[in-house]
Every structure is written in C-alpha cells, then in structure tokens.
Subunit: 214 residues, 2 copies
DNA sequence: TAGATTGTTAATCGATTAACAATC
DNA sequence: TAGATTGTTAATCGATTAACAATC
C-alpha cells in the first residue's frame, strides 16, 4: 500500500490496461483469477501483477486468487471513474466529432456538456444532443458551468491562445489531441496527451526493423 | 551505436517525440541545438538526450552541439519514414473517417490506398479521393494490391475475424484502434495500439490524485 | 491436511544520471 | 588558446523478477 504520489509512472501506465482486461474477463463470465493467469493473458509476470496490485491494497486471498468483480470495483475507485467530472470539447472537425460521438465519456466519470468550434459551418449541429456552439461563447459558458476538463481537438497553432483562455476560466485538466505542449507553459495542470502521429511513427519504426532484422 | 534489436523500448518510445520537437524547432528557424537546451525543452536530462542519440550514431560535434536539419534526417531514417508502405483502413465510422481524412500518412511513409466498411451506407463516398468499398471486396483488393499495413477502426467484436482475414491475405502490420488484442493470437505481427479510453482513464487518475493530494 | 496462491522481502536487471576525458 | 559540448564510461537509481514464508 503506497500513498498516491509514490505510485510510479510505470505502474500508472498499466492501470487502465488492468481495468480493461478485467472488465473483459468478467463480461466473459469469469469470476476469479490468479496473478499467474492474468499475467499470462496480459503479457506480464505474476510477480509484477502482485506488486502492482499491492501498491493499492491486498485485494487477493491466498490459495484462491483474486475476485474479478471486486478487483474491477477497486480499480474503478483507484482510477477515479466514479468521480463525476464535467468536460467540454473544443474543435468539431473530423477528429473532434469522432471523439464526441464515439468515446464513452460516462464510463470514465466524464460528462460532456459542451462542444465548440470557430467555424460557423457547424453551428446548429448537435452531437449526442449537445449543440455545437461558436468559439466566442466559450468564456460565458465556462463562467456559468465551470467545466472541469477540456478536450482539445484543434490545430496546434490555435491551441496556445485557447489554452490561455480556458485556464483563465479555471479549467485545470486537458485531454490534448493537439500538438501544443501544454505542460511547458503550465506544468501544474493535469494533462493527458494523445499523439496519434507518434503512434504511427512507432509502427513505422517497428516495421522497418522487422524487415531488415529477421 | 547499437544494433536495432538492442534498442530498448524506453528509447523507442521517445523517438517520435524527438522527431516532433526537432521538426518544430527547425520550422521556427533554429539551426543548431545542444543536448542541454533540447533536454530543457523536452523535459529530459542532457545525459539522456546524448545517450539516446548515441544508440544510433554520433550525430553531434564537440563544442558545437547538433545540427537540427541533419538530426531530422537521421531520425527520419531511423523511424523509416522514407520507406514507402501501403495501407488500407477498415471501418469508416466517425473515428475511421477522422483518421482517414486528417492523419498525414504520407509524412510517415504510409500511403492510404483503400477504405472499407461493412455498412453499405458509406458506399460511394470518398475520402481524399479514396472510395469507401464494401467489406466483401477486401480479399480481392488485397490479393491485387498487397497492402503492407491495415488501420483497424472497427468494433472489438468484429476485429478478430477481420484480422484473420487480413493476415491470410499477407498483411503483417496493424495500426489498431480497436480493443482486440492482436498480439495475443499473432505475436509475430507488427502492431501499434491506440487505446483512447486508456488515455482518458489515465487523465481521470491524474485528476483524482491531484485533487486529494494537493 | 495438502495444495494453491498470496503479500512481501531480497536479488537482479536495466534505465537514468553524473562525471569527465576527448575534441571541435 | 579557452570555452563549450560531445561521446562514453562509471555510479546511481528504480523497476522488474525471483523466492519464500504466511495463510486461505
């Protein structure tokens, strides 16, 4: 059992994966699992699974293993999925609309309450019953609804100014799909970056080295 | 200088970031940089930058630092961005269309040559001049064009069968947005996974722990 | 009870950081 | 030449793995 700020980033990066695999197992009807079996499925070692789990508490039982339903509950709590956080989405281009319409925010404790775009083309459109509003209404909207988090789906060149605006209205957390490096200017904010192009470059690297290597 | 398979996954995960920051610096007119300065911008240590670079060769010059244009070229080569790879995209839902229309595949050496969806709703539509075709034409298309890579933007429940089909046609690399775990069945394939929901859960975790912690 | 599997401590392994001689 | 900064070796730090007593 460790205090939250002692959890290493290696462990943190594995938490969503645990949650995902456990939910999967449970929906397939599995009720309990040993560290050995889970490790096999996820490609870890049993030691690592037990070490990771024990950062947060002793969830298992000797001779038996872990109760999957209980584990799912524990991880939901660890990840804060049951804490309600309101969110707005900035940038209703292809990516923004895809995220707004497909991501199940609710399962992660987020509630999408507003969508904004500078292009009047989208005005009047709705995604999941949320109207797309003009950029210039963001400040008044935030003043009124105090959203906790902003999803950034706009081009990198428009991001710096937008982040300044949003930070000024009190938003402290960002799910950032743009290539603007928020942490550099605002190291105190909560940021999760999604760099799709990094992922594609990694695949390019893997392909290149498998072709020459083997 | 290390051989490709000696490069640790920690180093690999940093390569796209180096490339991204260096391109950024260059487009801002910067010509040379020291490990110290680059480290500061990227949030690494100077030692780490030099260690990382020297996995691939001695690109710098004592007393001077690194030439950014040269570095960009080296990293493009390391990442295989100049090797042409053809790609198809499966699943033209919101996410698939967003990826097809916004991702700059060309910059990473990929060429998107086909888009497929099981839903006839999309039939006849084009994205970037690439027509969306029906799922049942995938096999003949692959037999003819032998694509190197497939982007998977379909639901997890349809993914296993699709991967079997694609593997049978000879595709060895996948950019996987679905939650199906390809590596479990096919450990030999080249796979880069994108788990947007993992990223959002990580943000949830960060938010939760900053609120209680500070 | 015997077998299984945990929680946890100790050992190993690898990655990051520090230091410094080489050299531009 | 003096100053700056690399490439690289050594030291440190942290993460993963192994081992095992505790116990269900």
């Amino acid at each position: 059992m460790k205090s939250p700020n002692e959890i290493s980033s290696s462990v943190i990066s594995r938490l969503p994966r645990y949650y995902r695999f456990l939910c999967d197992l449970y929906s397939n009807g599995k009720k309990r699992i040993s560290s050995k079996e889970l490790a096999e499925i996820m490609g870890f070692t049993a030691s690592q699974v037990r070490q990771d789990f024990n950062c947060f508490g002793g969830f298992g039982q000797q001779g038996y293993g872990y109760n999957i339903e209980q584990l799912i509950g524990e991880f939901a709590g660890i990840l804060g999925l049951n804490v309600l956080k309101t969110a707005i989405l900035i940038g209703a281009g292809n990516l923004g609309r895809a995220v707004a319409s497909q991501m199940s925010f609710e399962d992660k404790g987020f509630k999408l309450i507003g969508i904004f775009d500078c292009d009047p083309l989208y005005k009047g459109m709705k995604i999941r019953d949320i109207p797309i509003s003009a950029d210039d209404s963001i400040e008044s909207f935030c003043a009124e609804h105090k959203p906790d988090m902003a999803v950034l789906c706009l081009p990198a060149d428009k991001a710096p100014e937008m982040v300044d605006t949003l930070v000024a209205t009190g938003i402290k957390s960002f799910w950032n799909f743009s290539h603007y490096d928020i942490h550099r200017k605002y190291p105190e904010l909560n940021v999760a970056n999604v760099h799709l192009s990094d992922s594609l470059m990694t695949l390019s690297f893997i392909i290149k080295n498998n072709e020459t290597g083997e």
